[in-house]
């Protein structure tokens, strides 16, 4: 399931990845039992990349980040920063900085002292510190607040102090542990844009840990979806949304309909699943996928890709009959739940472009159709990219 990457040869400084994890395993002792939090992770994060580790709580994403930061040591495997092995190097000697979920600002120090903390540890000259802290506070839009204490600031401001405190050291990589988790929705959306801007401005590699798929999709260059200590899928946000590689990814990223059926025929690199009269689902078979007639398969299709009709639609795509079980009006769109023979509770999003009223009501008989390229086979036969 994991995408293997060609790791650039170590020692070639121009193409060195910012961060590399090789076969990283982390075990914890809990009540006398060994719990494996990370189960053999291989990851290569490029220079200047906005990289997200996405997964539900307990999937090992935070542990992975803490191993990069140096707060945890892997049980097996190695961590490399810019080609240099850092396994065993303590956190205060690693050239990465972290933004903590709780911000972890020093409450007894002013904003200036907080931001200057790392530079002072490095023995940077006083005038240089003043200049760089000033610059960084400018970037995070906190100029003039140097003398404030963290306790006198709002959550969003504290967040930006934490960011400045880490970035001012010009780390090789910035690690962010669910940094927006404590903010309210509106501020969170603002900060997402803000973070992306700051990352572009300073050009530092960002490793972003989150359980919020929307956040990961919005900001990342690439996303690693983790589940239960392993990598489920690695790719660009579009890759992961449009081509979920597993049932877990399909379910975790956005809303997905999980359908199933029996293969009636395989032709032209497509499998056709048959149901009642006039009903069929056409699934493109990607390279390396082999299915045969009579096989039971599972597939996903996103709710916004499905069209809802009151009459049998024309065309040779997927079409299936169903009964509307629920209609939810959401302003910009209307959601329908439709019971079909391919799956109960198929969710359909329709944009309310110019409809004054809903297409169908509860209990109506409807037809669903979608383009074959929006269906993906998942599960044991797998759609290995």
């Amino acid at each position: 399931m994991t995408e293997t990457q060609d790791a650039p040869a170590r020692g070639d400084s121009a193409t060195l990845p910012a961060i590399e994890l090789a076969g990283v395993v982390k075990d914890y002792q809990s009540h006398g039992e060994t719990v494996r939090a990370v189960k053999g992770l291989d990851l290569t994060i490029g220079e200047g990349e906005f990289f997200s580790l996405l997964g539900p709580s307990g999937c090992g994403k935070t542990t992975t980040m803490r191993m990069i930061a140096g707060f945890e040591e892997p049980t097996e495997g190695e961590v490399f920063l810019h080609g240099q092995k850092v396994t065993g190097v303590p956190a205060h000697r690693r050239d990465v900085n972290m933004v903590f979920q709780s911000y972890a600002l020093f409450p007894h120090m002013s904003v200036f002292e907080n931001v200057a903390f790392g530079l002072r540890r490095k023995g940077v000259e006083r005038s240089e510190i003043t200049r760089r802290v000033g610059e960084m506070l400018e970037i995070v839009d906190l100029a003039g607040r140097e003398k404030r204490r963290p306790g006198q600031m709002s959550g969003g401001q504290q967040q930006r102090v934490a960011l400045a405190r880490a970035l001012v050291n010009r780390p090789r990589a910035l690690l962010l542990d669910e940094p927006l988790g404590a903010l309210d929705l509106k501020l969170r959306q603002q900060m997402q844009v803000e973070l992306k801007r700051i990352q572009r401005e300073v050009g530092v590699t960002f490793v972003y840990v989150t359980h919020d798929q929307g956040e990961a999709l919005t900001m990342s260059d690439r996303i690693a979806v983790m589940n239960d200590g392993s990598l489920e899928q690695l790719g660009t946000p579009r890759d992961i949304y449009e081509h979920p590689a597993s049932k877990f990814v399909a379910g975790f990223i956005g809303t997905s309909n999980l359908l199933s059926g029996e293969v009636a025929e395989v032709a032209d690199g497509r499998a056709v699943l048959a149901y009642g009269p006039g009903e069929r689902i056409v699934v493109p078979l990607r390279e390396g996928t082999a299915v045969s007639g009579g096989q039971h398969v599972e597939l996903t299709v996103r709710p916004e890709k499905i069209e809802l009709h009151t009459e049998p639609p024309a065309g040779d795509g997927s079409m299936i009959r169903g009964t509307v079980s629920e209609v939810v009006y959401l302003g910009t769109s209307t959601n329908y739940q439709v019971v079909t023979s391919a799956g109960a509770d198929v969710v359909v999003f329709t944009q309310n472009v110019n409809s004054a009223e809903d297409i169908a009501a509860r209990g109506d008989s409807v037809w669903l159709s979608w383009d074959p390229r929006h269906s993906y086979l998942i599960g044991q036969i797998g759609a290995t990219p």
Binding site: H92, M98, S102, A104, F106, F117, R165
Partner: protein, 278 residues
Amino acid sequence: MTTTTAPAAAKAPARRRVPRKGLGLRIYTWAVIAWLVLPIAVMILFGFNDTSSKFNFEWEGFTLKWYAQLFDREDLTTALINSITIALASTVITTVLGTLVGLALGRYSFRGKGVSNLVLFAAISSPELVMGASLLSMFVTLNTPRGYATILVSHVMFSIAFVAMTVRARAVGLDPSIEEAARDLGAGPWTTFRLVTLPLIMPGVISGALLAFALSIDDFIITNFTSGSTVTFPLWVWGSTRTGTPPQVNVMGTLLFAAGVLIAVLNMVASRRRARRG
């Protein structure tokens, strides 16, 4: 020492109009304040008593001569110096050790943590008389000559738990990622402790230290068991009650009390300032 905040509290309700229905509360409040302050007031007052008898029980007129002759009684002065040096030394030792214990208990989980907590609690709750007697039999068994050193050891022993408790309370409320942030920013373990951990637990350390000093300087029971021939201020006062306590004792008590009030007020001002700065 434990009543040092009473005068500050007494100043607060100065001449403000209180609704009539609060009369009962007002009487009650003043009664409590009087209850706490009266013995101290008597002690202070009799330091100014121009007494001619050996016993300083009856008011005979105002004088400042006891302040002038404060150090005339050599044995009393020695006892006071003993008390003060023991209190200072035991406070320093106790604060260092107790802070480490409190940090360990508040920040980390380790084998034997529950037992350590229990031992601390036992040290606080066990009767002083029992502790003193068992310390004495221990020193006798170990053939340790009783004196200045054994007093110091005993004082450290019984006050360490108080420092550990106040520091632990502070350390428990500390976000562990604050220390991690310091490490992440390049501070080694010692720098992290000096610049981040210690300033954050400082209020707990200070109140623990004040408590340790207060416990040590007026301890009688345990000191009485472990002192050998060394005399401290409380022991001297106790001994003198049979033959007549000189007014210098009242003066010394007054000065100790004043020092206590001063430290308590300074501490309060400092913590208010800290709170205001956030």
